[in-house]
């Protein structure tokens, strides 16, 4: 009891507080800061949009140029755009897949569309 009173009256209370504060700083504040930084730097949604734009552009090009051949195109953004075309009667099923270049061609976005082709 005497010690407690002594401690309470001691100026060292702020030292204990500082230790707790440092512990919190290291265990919570730093990871939280890192997490916030990572979240702010996260470009996943931008990459989703970029992949979609690449796939859409390739689909539009295929339709306009009526280029129904199989092709693989490496983009300046580091993606690989693959075009696969299947013919069923008068229909051409065009499948555009986008994968990260060098990732073993694992598709991260696939869109497909069917065109009429009487030629």
């Amino acid at each position: 009891m005497t010690i407690l009173i002594h401690i309470k009256r001691d100026d060292g209370y702020t030292l204990l507080e500082t230790v707790v504060a440092m512990a919190l700083f290291v265990s919570v504040l730093l990871p939280l800061g890192v997490a916030v930084g990572n979240l702010m730097l996260d470009r996943t949604s931008d990459e989703f949009s970029l992949r979609l734009r690449l796939a859409e552009a390739e689909m539009s090009r295929t339709m306009v140029e009526r280029d129904f051949t199989w092709a693989s195109i490496k983009t300046s953004e580091g993606y690989l755009v693959n075009r696969q075309v299947e013919r069923i009667g008068f229909l051409r099923n065009v499948r555009i897949s986008v994968s990260k270049s060098g990732s073993g061609e694992k598709s991260i976005l696939v869109i497909s569309k069917t065109f009429l082709d009487y030629e």
Binding site: T18, V20, L24, D46, F48, S49, S112, T114, F115
Partner: protein, 461 residues
């Protein structure tokens, strides 16, 4: 802390400030996390919407291929519903229905919770007969050129073939002015016209006009009449209206736009469409009297049907299906692609006179067709293209054609005709020109006028 007896200046501040920082940073983290989640969701929504839209377009392509391959328009006449599933988990539901001489395809594409609906007008790819500049389906007399008449493209005639002729006031060509091959056939004929779609549509319009109504139980109907002169404006035509029946002559100056649910305006009387009248998409205006379209109205994809006549006044510009026994385009009027001018007497007396008259300076982009089962004289079933008038597309005539203007495309006719007092000339061309090389690629013809049933999208609504 003061309660603990610590003198001012000695109390701690590190812990409260760290706790405050943690709180603030947590709030920032939650906000940034929320923002990122929203951005990611937006990106995924974009992908979902694109996939749903592609599914809708693919559904239309698949349904057209299916109907074309089966060559079965009967299924479409009563409304054909088709469902397609794709390997990427997208799906589409397509409904095909007639829209005048075209076929309307409405497709709803879906991918997970995303949905997109599209409506398109579809028509047929022209068959090989349309490769010719002219099919002169007359086995009894020659095709005779005089004056400035000429053809760029291949010509098919009967055994009598083609020649040049002398006519006062016209120069006689030195040689037959055909830049292409001339082929003679023992029995030349027009493209066999499959009338099923046209006849069924015209009969359904006539049923509406004569009060034999066939419509769904949930159709929204408004009837006006009997009166002498009605003025129909935007207050009468609401978005939910399906059928508007009017007894009496009417002037319409409303603005109507429909992309999914058609609107039928059925008038027992004459119709005047005047500024600021606008009809866009699935709008059909059916009349038992004369139908007149004034300058400055805007019509896009609509059907204009009359028991008597349809007339485009000077300077009027439309993109529409004009269906009537008699169609008149006055000087400077224009029917833009994909217009169809169809003269027919289906359901009317055989003696009804048929004519399509394109005045000087009138322009048509699309199809000009005169279909007749009547036995009246060819001069009572006549398409007239005056000097200065131009057709980009095709002319099909079950009667005769007076061709003094230009055609960028092809002409199929049983005969040519003009009257130069005191003589009627059959088989003669005096100033008309046909240039098959200038028919735009991708040109489509109404269903029934092509022997192929290769359906394709004509226009998106």
């Amino acid at each position: 802390m003061f309660s603990r007896g610590i003198s001012p200046g000695q109390e701690g501040f590190a812990l409260p400030s760290v706790l405050l920082m943690i709180t603030l940073l947590s709030l920032v983290a939650i906000s940034v996390l929320g923002l990122q989640l929203i951005l990611r969701r937006v990106a995924l929504m974009e992908i979902g919407k694109v996939k749903a839209e592609y599914a809708a377009e693919s559904g239309i392509a698949k349904s057209l291929a299916e109907v074309g391959a089966a060559n079965d328009i009967l299924r479409v006449l009563s409304g054909l519903n088709l469902h397609f599933d794709s390997e990427d988990e997208s799906r589409s539901d397509v409904e095909l229905q007639p829209w005048g001489v075209y076929i309307r395809a409405r497709s709803e594409g879906g991918f997970h919770q995303f949905r997109t609906s599209l409506t398109a007008l579809t028509a047929c790819n022209p068959s090989s007969e349309f490769d010719n500049a002219l099919i002169f389906a007359n086995a009894t007399h020659q095709l005779v050129f005089t004056g400035s008449a000429g053809i760029l493209g291949n010509v098919l005639t009967g055994q009598p073939g083609a020649t040049v002729g002398n006519l006062s006031n016209y120069n006689t060509p030195i040689q037959i002015p055909i830049k292409g091959t001339l082929r003679r056939d023992q029995r030349p004929d027009l493209v066999p016209f499959d009338t099923l779609l046209l006849a069924s549509q015209v009969r359904s319009y006539q049923d509406l006009l004569s009060g034999k109504i066939k419509m769904g139980g949930d159709a929204h109907i408004l009837s006006l009449g009997s009166g002498i002169d009605f003025l129909v404006d935007h207050r009468i035509i609401t978005d939910s209206l399906d059928y508007l029946f009017i007894r009496g002559n009417v002037t319409i100056d409303a603005k109507i736009a429909r992309s999914e649910r058609p609107l039928f305006v059925v008038v027992n009387g004459d119709i005047l469409l005047k500024e600021p009248f606008t009809a866009s998409g699935l709008v059909a205006i059916l009349g038992s009297g004369a139908l007149t379209i004034q300058e400055e109205v805007k019509i896009d994809e609509a059907i204009l049907y009359s028991w008597k006549s349809v007339e485009l006044k000077e300077g009027a510009t439309v993109s529409a299906q004009l269906i009537a026994p008699s169609i008149l385009l006055k000087s400077g009027s224009r029917a833009q692609y994909p217009s169809a001018l169809i003269s027919t007497i289906v359901g009317l007396p055989d003696s009804t006179r048929q004519s399509i008259f394109l005045s000087d300076g009138a322009q048509v982009e699309g199809f000009v067709g005169l279909y007749s089962t009547g036995l009246s004289a060819q001069t009572d079933r006549l398409i007239t293209v005056r000097p200065g008038a131009n057709v980009t597309g095709a002319i099909f005539s079950g009667g005769a054609v007076t061709l003094d203007g230009t055609v960028q495309g092809c002409v199929m006719t049983r005969d040519f005709y003009f009257y130069e007092p005191p003589t009627k000339y059959f088989g003669w061309l005096r100033s008309g020109t046909i240039d098959r090389t200038r028919l735009p690629s991708g040109y489509l013809v109404p269903y029934g006028f092509s022997t192929t049933k290769e359906l394709d999208v004509l226009d998106w609504l």
